[in-house]
Amino acid sequence: MKNDSSNPQVQSARKPNEELPALECKNVGRTFMIGKGFLSSKKPLRAVDDVSLKINRGQVFAVVGESGCGKTTLARMLLGLLEPTEGAIYLDGQPISEVSSDMISRKVQPVFQDPYSSLNPRKTIESIISLPLRVHDIGTKENRLERVSELMRLVGLPNRLIHSYPNQLSGGQRQRVAIARALIMEPGIIVCDEPTSALDVSVQAHILNLLQDLKDRFNLTYIFISHDLAVVEHLADWVAVMYLGRLIEFGPATEVLRNPLHPYTQALMESVLTPDPRKGLPEITFGRGLPNPLAPPSGCYFHPRCSKIKDGCDSKLPKLLPESDRLVECHLYN
């Protein structure tokens, strides 16, 4: 795609400045107002709270955490689908609020979790993949068709499927369609929100290998949202662990996942079930699921579930501080 000069319009839309991080979050927060019921007043829910990140070009940046920790809200803000209520996001060094939605969608594209519900069942594969080109009014009908064929070849879809409908495709093929659709605008950044969690293990392996090949070939930047830590460990260069909207640990993937510092990351890693029949089930000592995000606990958000709780954990919020080469938000390291 990058060395494809047949598409000057797409080429000119790209203004990569290799010096700047592809995406940067500065103290980003998003608060939703939740109405609890008729007549009662609305309460704030801080889905994402004070998150600062730098996402470098050509790398895989993973965000992990349980459901409800704010992963998807963060992803939607990075896609420009939601505006942060606090802080700012910079796309290629420019505040995302000043970038037109047209330009954002040329630079950042999503691949969603469920390929069964993210593809329009009434459109053909050709029409689904070429939709971004039609929206941005790029190329003629013929060269759009040509681009679709090219992308289908790239993601490993046989050309005979070009006039099929999504219901005629398997889960893995649908996810390939979603990836082709995301790539047709030649974005530099792809946001993958649980791209393989609806798929079989054998199909998951194909899709993960495809994502890696595409990344190497086009120097793509991935923001990879997942709760499958084994997949993240395999794919990611950087990992951000989120808990109740806060970033609690951040660093190089191998280090964070092989030697987790935060008790929450440690607990997450212990829950990963590797196929080792000699090990039994892990003993999970910490409590049942996330606390109510409408009334987060005092002090460190994780303290009610933490096995290493000490004095002061329940009264003051720890700071995100550097610990060796990464960041950890925990009183144990402050």
Partner: protein, 342 residues
Amino acid sequence: MTENRRVLDAKNLSVEIEVPSGTLHAVTDVSLHVDKGETLGIVGESGCGKSITSLAIMNLLPSKATRTASRLQLEGKDLLSLSERQFASLRGNRLGMIFQDPMTSLNPVYRIGEQLEEVYIQHGKGNRKEAKERAAYLLDKVGIIAPQERLSQFPHQLSGGLRQRMMIAMTLMCEPSLVIADEPTTALDVTMQAQTLNLLSYLQDEFNMGLILITHDLGVVARMADRVLVMYAGKAVETGTSQEVFDQPTHPYTQGLIQCIPVPGRTSTDGRLGSIKGMVPALIGDLRGCMFRNRCAYVSEKCHASEINFNEISPGRGYRCLLEESECAGNLAGNFGTEIVQ
């Protein structure tokens, strides 16, 4: 194991479904058994017949499907000759089932308590008051705090993990001898998954139940199951204890599956995962030869024509492939060396 410890015994179980284009061989010649307190894991990709096998045992197949078996016994009682009415009195009573998605398997318009008690009363185990006590006792067992309060709630008021606990409690109302769990933790977070599986295995010991765990997650099977049955295209392709199957996978399909999963510490960021090319074949019409041949790296001329027998290495351990056991074992080591570890 003596006969009276055997909870389920199925021999040569087959399911055929008539579809417009012919006969679909959903399950062919599967034999399995489960003892008290034992966990049998059934693994395979979607469409390999895992769920149909469980439905065949429960007699819940679609009306177009026909089930044949040379033996199908639950606690020594023949299930093949039972009428639908007799079967209904077994389901939920001696045979329990836990489904994947607790939101769709709980009725949204009835309170949790009513749904739990109904099973107990329906099977004539006792009156409403006893049912209430049993429900509260079981909610406590599955680790739900303030059970009385929870019993009067509706399914939508509970989180996914709690709903799955409710499902487990409901399954246990009549103390079944066999529980079939079909992807019980697929919809849950990793942390909830480990907790739910811990709970399931604790309850299994407590009530001495047989458990059939159907999943595509090899990690879950490796950690939970005593024995493993690997299915492909409706047939059993490999059986053994979980140590045997995970340490020395013999069938090329089992080997492929194990290589597909990323394992922390083993697979590297630059490496590629092993993968199985191609797709599960259609199972319609006259099937001949090995069904895995189009995806197999070790395919030969013989794989196309001949009927592939199930080679029994030792009681309970076997595989369905023309390759010798020693040839198969070598393959995996070679593949790990070149494809995965960088």
